[in-house]
């Protein structure tokens, strides 16, 4: 049952990310809704769920639009795991938690993505990518972090009951 709920949450996030969010893109960058969902899930329900949600979110994202396979799967999986580790060490009701977590996660996820791209032999210009891609993405993700965190918080509570 809870698997279905999580899967539909991911699918909704994926569809929004590939249809509605590009409409508000700024210089080709649009918010990474799935990443914020993964981070919130991991922080609220631990590393096992974090890894699972991260893996499937990344996998769906990689498969849906023929992007470079593995980039999102691996980076989101790692992000989910690391933030899942912090589950018992954070105060879940604090309003700054999603903001801070999203900030760190976007940077980490971006750097992991760049690292993988370089490992896979793609040409990446590190400094421009950081400035033009990852930094605007941080800002955009911060905007959606709090509402998404609230929704995920509800879902976690609902599935726990």
């Amino acid at each position: 049952m809870s698997i279905l709920i999580w899967l539909s949450l991911l699918l909704i996030a994926l569809i929004m990310q590939s249809t509605l969010l590009p409409l508000v893109s700024f210089k080709g960058i649009h918010p990474d809704l799935l990443l914020v969902v993964v981070v919130s899930c991991a922080l609220l329900s631990g590393k096992e769920n974090g890894v699972g949600i991260g893996f499937f979110a990344g996998l769906l994202q990689d498969l849906v639009a023929g992007s470079i396979f593995g980039i999102n799967t691996l980076s989101k999986l790692t992000t989910g795991y690391l933030f899942g580790l912090a589950e018992r060490k954070v105060f879940k009701e604090h309003v700054l938690l999603p903001l801070l977590a999203t900030l760190v996660a976007t940077l980490f996820n971006g750097l992991a993505g760049v690292g993988l791209l370089i490992l896979l032999g793609h040409k990446v210009d590190f400094v421009t990518t950081l400035l033009q891609n990852i930094v605007p993405l941080v800002g955009y993700n911060l905007i959606i972090a709090i509402p998404v965190h609230h929704i995920v918080y509800r879902v976690v509570k609902f599935t726990a009951e």
């Binding site: 590939s18 080709g28 849906v64 023929g66 791209l117």
Partner: protein
């Protein structure tokens, strides 16, 4: 509540498998045709509906905003209209002259004739590393892999995968895409390759240009037709910056693409082009055997 038990081994294996798959996919050895097909095909109708709703909302908000500036725009357009009328007169004159000269040279008109299939954009790449779009036409409408995709403003990209009713289009902005390009200015005609750049997702680059090549800001780039995917003469974009590479031998040009990729709603797929083959000499009035080199040369010279 726990979906995954603490099985580090499984996790490690999964990571290794994904990484291996990623590296072999990067080299183009295998493809996830089946999985991709299912997910793309299932999601496409939903995406179509959702993006239509999104487009409607944006159109409404945009047109409300445009009402505010309508008067000023009107004034500006009137002035521009007068200017264009004047230009139009000149153009008609030049066109007439062109027609006369062409008739004199007996050169067949080289206007590319394309068969187009119009498609709606139903989804964008959900990631920020690559640039692809999903369109609602597929093999059922004659769309197949490696067909060029255009908008009225210029080149968009090429079809990378086509399913029955859905196709994925790789934009020219994608770092994996490479388009043979040519500077449109008649004195220059520098040829090179336009590649996407992951760091600056909206400005592709024309790379590996010789340091002394004749290319300046404001030059328009068109497809060169080399490589076989993109027909010749499609507008790619305008050069906005030229940067010398560190090695000292090469430079690259930063492009402002002709198409506004943030606002893509409808695109056309070129399913067939009837461009005359440029190497065929036009029929000469005298049927006597002539040296082939002499007849080929003028047709190529005037062909642009």
């Amino acid at each position: 509540m726990r979906l995954f038990h603490k099985k580090t081994v499984i996790l490690l294996v999964a990571v290794v498998i994904v990484f291996l798959l990623a590296s072999s996919l990067a080299q183009g050895k295998i493809k996830f045709a089946f999985m991709e097909k299912i997910i793309t095909t299932v999601l496409a109708p939903v995406e179509y509906v959702v993006s239509n709703v999104g487009f409607t909302f944006r159109t409404i908000s945009l047109s409300t905003g445009e009402l505010m500036t309508a008067y000023r725009d009107n004034q500006k357009l009137r002035a521009e209209n007068d200017e264009l009328r004047q230009n139009n007169l000149n153009v008609t004159e030049i066109a007439a002259e062109n027609a006369r000269l062409k008739a004199m040279l007996d050169y067949k008109k080289g206007v590319p004739q394309f068969d187009l299939v119009t498609a709606a954009v139903v989804g964008r790449d959900p990631g920020n590393w690559t640039s692809t779009i999903i369109i609602n036409r597929g093999t059922a409408d004659g769309v197949t892999k490696d067909m060029a995709v255009v908008a009225p403003q210029g080149l968009i990209g090429s079809v990378v995968t086509a399913y029955a009713n859905v196709a994925k289009v790789q934009l020219v902005l994608d770092p994996r895409s490479a388009v043979g390009a040519l500077v449109q200015r008649p004195e220059s005609r520098v040829a090179a390759i336009v590649e996407g750049h992951s760091g600056t997702p909206l400005t592709p680059r024309m790379v590996n240009i010789a340091r002394d090549a004749d290319i300046v800001k404001g030059d328009k780039l068109i497809t060169s037709g080399f490589g076989g995917i993109y027909p010749k003469g499609l507008l790619i974009g305008e050069v906005i910056d030229i940067v010398n590479e560190e090695g000292g031998l090469l430079k690259y040009a930063v492009l402002n693409p002709a198409v506004d990729f943030d606002r893509l709603e409808e695109v056309s797929v070129i399913v067939g082009s009837r461009e005359p083959i440029p190497t065929l000499p036009p029929p000469v009035a005298v049927p006597a055997p002539t040296a082939p080199g002499k007849t080929v040369a003028p047709s190529q010279g005037v062909g642009r």
